[in-house]
């Protein structure tokens, strides 16, 4: 049966912009950056959380033909910009400190650290419009 989640994918409007954001601002590490000429210069670009080598995030450009027709590509771009294309949840040991660090690097927050029944969490976005959460979980009682 299924064993592990290894990759997850987010659409990004520009892979260079996304790579700079995910590594320089979020502090993730570059894992793979491979361009494949025979696939129309398809670029396989992945990043990951340092210390979590078995899960990668694929920063996927929205493809046009032959994968998607132009209208589909435009629709995905439109949904992405409106924040309707999904997101990722991270954990952190110290939500307030991470918030201050990320904010100082220019990350845009939609929710500052907030006490929740399960811990402290905050919300932010990438330049494309993907939503992120980070949560500092309470110790299970």
């Amino acid at each position: 049966m299924l064993k592990q989640l290894t990759n997850t994918q987010v659409w990004v409007r520009d892979q260079d912009e996304a790579l700079a954001f995910y590594t320089d601002k979020l502090g993730l590490e570059l894992r793979e950056d491979v361009t494949v000429p025979e696939l129309g210069n398809f670029r396989w670009l992945t990043v990951g959380v340092p210390g979590q080598p078995d899960v990668a995030i694929t920063l996927m450009a929205v493809p046009g033909p032959p994968v998607f027709d132009e209208s589909t590509r435009e629709q995905i771009h439109a949904l992405l910009a409106k924040g309707a294309a999904g997101g990722l949840f991270f954990s952190t040991d110290n939500c307030q400190a991470s918030y201050e660090e990320l904010k100082s690097r220019g990350v845009e927050f939609s929710q500052e650290p907030t006490e929740q029944p399960y811990g402290i969490d905050a919300g932010f976005r990438d330049p494309s419009g993907n939503q992120f959460r980070m949560a500092q979980r309470k110790e299970p009682s």
Partner: protein, 145 residues
Amino acid sequence: MLTSVPPARHLLRAKDMIDARYREPLDVPELARAAHMSPAHFSREFRRAFGETPHQYLLTRRLERAAALLRNTDHSVADVCFTVGLRSVGSFTTSFGRAFGLSPTAYRAAHPPASDRVRIPTCVLQAYARPQSSMFREDNGNRPG
């Protein structure tokens, strides 16, 4: 090559600003500046992108946050009203009743904290618990600014 930022991404920034700063006296001109648009153009484009005006989104965000405070704290109705950035308790009570069908006090009595039942992330709660502005008519009592 960096593709240009789509206008909707600027609108999303303004929407995020509402979610982040609903406690403050936000108004449409300030939100429009965040979206790099004139106020009239901004309100129109915001509605086209998200299906409601920025004013409606801000009010319903405040009402959703107020409902959460009523469920999860013992703060007074007036405190809840001011905490979420509304300035008239009378208008708040009226808007709240239209949105949720109960007075703030009755709503509190009817809803024990959701945390008693399940651990749902805040973003899910905030997204699903916000009243739909199309479901109730709003007067101008809470217009920001």
